[in-house]
Each structure stands twice: as structure tokens, then as C-alpha cells.
Symmetry: C2
Subunit: 235 residues, 2 copies
């Protein structure tokens, strides 16, 4: 937590917030902040700035805040992820949020185990918390929109096809000949398969709607590593 | 585990291996392999190829193996990491190994908590296991060399200065003006600071021996995300 993410309900006055719970614990125990300490803060889905601690004790903290800047610009990337194993889902969502990804679609695929869809990690409250952890790490305020699509073909052929007309559409695929492009500035939609990859029919469905399979190199990376590596390369 | 990493002691004959324990469990329970199944295999620090299961039961598996190819080429990157928190060390080492990093130096820094150096995760056996998990993920065989340097200045001014003459030396630093370069082919040494960053005096020490501070963008990333993002961008 390099940054204290505030929500509307934290405000007790126009420029005054009161914080308890997880953030207070962190500010006291990890940052070791005291009265007078200045912290970087931001308001969820809004501006960033500074806060100065006016009172802090075991129960709560009060800060006066000034929100004077825009958050960092979004990464022009929409991620389409075959639903990862629950164990890696949290890390992947937090990492994507920390890099400025603003739209994530979790989709089904032949090689996604059915049981993954029953994981409590898919609850909105958990996905939101992982995004918040990523934003707190990065110093950003804008929550990504995360949606789930349990039917592969209707989603890809329908909504995805219609919504990517202005995007460069890429599919990370170990068997592809084309290397991942570099240094893009326009909007990109990037699909990443499950462990073991998308099956041939799924790759063909993506290609039919305009996706280009691209190759990230001879090594197979975990999804959270692949996402970060691709972000570094694309932008 | 996309790939079964063999060691010399697994060989019961010239082209024959016998495996038990962790890898057997994975092959049986996750991959669901049976007699006749062909698996991708590699010999530690040696070639990669294929194995065919000849016998498998609760206790062990026997495979005939053919090692016909070289492992993927190494990434020409040496990482200098301020010792990360124990909680993130394992993931960072495994991710770096999975991307083909072959040399990692874990160093002290003003903002590295002293207690991190006492973590059992720094035992050679654990670091080796994290590297193996990364290699099994990636389909690579070559173990990175990991070394530890508890004295910052003697290491940087002494050994590091002497060993980087042929390298492009970069320091990931949020306050830098120069963006991270792209698409390099020569050898790079990349230093990444602790949470909160290197202090000014440390940055100056790196600059004195030829490091250029470079900026990865307006967001602060976790070390394992930053490493992957930088690898994607640099190469």
C-alpha cells in the first residue's frame, strides 16, 4: 500500500476523512505514521492528492485531504482471460489493476475446469478487493470493470466481435508465428488462454472475428507473469 | 508444471528414468497420465525432449526419454534485486526463472528490513525449488545462479562494477526522466529497488558505476510485476 485509497463514505466533511479498519492498521503498523505525517491519497474513481494526519489512535484516523491531480492515464488495454485457477486469480486481477488495465473479461474455455466457476474468489466483493489492492499498490484510483462470460462462443461471436472494431485484437498463442508487436499507442484487446492454451477451435473462433495470434517466445509463462510481460512489451 | 524436469539421479539407465514423489503426484493427479502417455521432459542444466511412460503406479513411474533439443536461449539479463519481502520472494524468483533469467543477485538496501535476511526462504534448498518451479512452468532446464550480498556498497562498488563492463546497466527508478529502452539484444543488468525505492545515496552509487536510472511509468508495481513488465519491454 503506497497510497491510501479513499471512498465517498470516508468523508466526514468536504476535505476531511475518517478511516478505520484495514487501512488504519496498515498506516499505523507498516507505515508507522503519526500526527502530522503526510500521505499520498486518492478518491476511488476520482482524483489523487495528499492527506495530512490530524489525529490517529487505535480506533481511527482523521486526515485533511487535498485532491489536486488526475490519476495516471489508463492503459488502453482490454484483457480477455480464460478464467484462471482460483489460486492465481487474485494475483492476476491485482497485477492487472496495478498496471492500469480498466476492463477484464473472464471467459470460459475448453480447458478451464468447471469447478473454477464455483470459487468464492469470483464473488464481486473479492474481485473488488483485489482491484483495490492493485490500485493501492500502483497509486491509481480507477476500478477496472470485471465481467464474466460462462459461454465462450456466444460471447466471442456476439458481444466481443461488436465491441472490438476500433481495437487491435491479439491472442497470445504459443504456436503463433507473429511476434507480439511493440510500442503501440491505440487501443488493444488481448486474449490469454488457460493453462494448456485455447483449443484449436477456440483459436479459430478468435481468428474469425479478427484476432491475430501472437507469440511471446519459447517459454510458457504463468498467466500473471504473461500479462505483465505483454503489457511491458505492447505499450 | 508443463514439463517434467529430470535430474541425473532419476536415471536408472541411459535413456530410462524412474520418478517418485512430487513430480509423480503431479503427473498422476493433475495431468492424469497413464502408460503410453508422452510428456515433455528436460534434464536439469541440459537438453530437452520427450518421455514416454512405460509403467506408472502409486509408488513410481518409469519413462523412456529422448533428449534431442537445446533448452530455450537464456534471456541476456542479470537481475539485481533489493531483497524482497519473504512473502513475495518465492514468486519473484520463480517468475524470473520462468522468463529465462540466469543470474540474480539479492542485495541489501537501506529500506530492506533486516529481518528479511533471516527468512528460511533464503535457504539454498528453497531458492533452488522456486527456480525449479519456474523452469517446470516455462519448459526450460537451466537453473539461475542466485547470490546474496548483505553489504550494499562493497558489492556495488567492487564486484558489480567490475562485472558489468559489457552490459547496459539500468536502474528502475520512479523519479527518472529516461523511459525504459525497448527491444534490446545485448546483455543488460537491471537493478530494482525495495518497496519505497532505493535511497538517494544508493541511486548515486549505482550511477557512479555506470547505471542509468529509467522510468517504467507513473504506477508503482510490485517487484514480480515490475520484473515481468521490464522483461517484456527490454527484449
Amino acid at each position: 500500500m503506497n497510497f491510501i485509497l479513499l471512498e465517498r463514505e470516508d468523508f466526514s466533511g468536504k476535505d476531511r476523512v475518517r478511516i478505520a479498519g484495514r487501512r488504519l492498521e496498515h498506516i499505523r503498523r507498516v507505515l508507522g505514521s503519526v500526527e502530522g505525517t503526510e500521505l499520498r491519497v486518492g478518491l476511488l474513481n476520482d482524483r489523487i492528492g495528499k492527506g495530512q494526519i490530524e489525529r490517529i489512535d487505535n480506533d481511527a484516523l482523521e486526515m485533511s485531504v487535498t485532491l489536486e491531480s488526475e490519476p495516471p492515464p489508463p492503459l488502453p488495454l482490454r484483457l480477455i482471460l480464460a478464467l484462471p485457477r482460483p489460486k492465481v486469480l487474485n494475483r492476476t486481477i491485482a497485477a492487472a489493476a496495478s498496471m492500469g488495465v480498466r476492463q477484464i473479461d473472464l471467459i470460459n474455455s475448453w480447458r478451464v475446469e468447471k469447478s473454477y466457476w464455483d470459487s468464492p474468489r469470483l464473488l464481486e466483493s473479492n474481485l473488488r478487493m483485489q482491484c483495490i489492492l492493485g490500485l493501492e499498490q500502483a497509486g491509481d484510483t480507477v476500478l477496472p470493470v470485471i465481467r464474466m462470460h460462462r459461454l465462450f462462443t456466444p460471447f466471442v461471436r456476439g458481444e466481443l466481435r461488436e465491441s472490438i472494431v476500433d481495437h487491435l485484437a491479439l491472442l497470445a498463442h504459443p504456436a503463433a508465428d507473429t511476434p507480439v508487436p511493440r510500442n503501440l499507442s491505440g487501443p488493444v484487446v488481448l486474449a490469454i488462454g488457460p493453462e494448456g492454451g485455447f483449443i484449436v477451435r477456440e483459436v479459430e473462433t478468435f481468428q474469425e472475428i479478427g484476432f491475430t495470434p501472437v507469440n511471446l517466445g519459447p517459454r510458457i509463462l504463468r498467466v500473471e507473469t504473461a500479462v505483465a510481460c505483454l503489457v511491458g512489451r505492447l505499450f
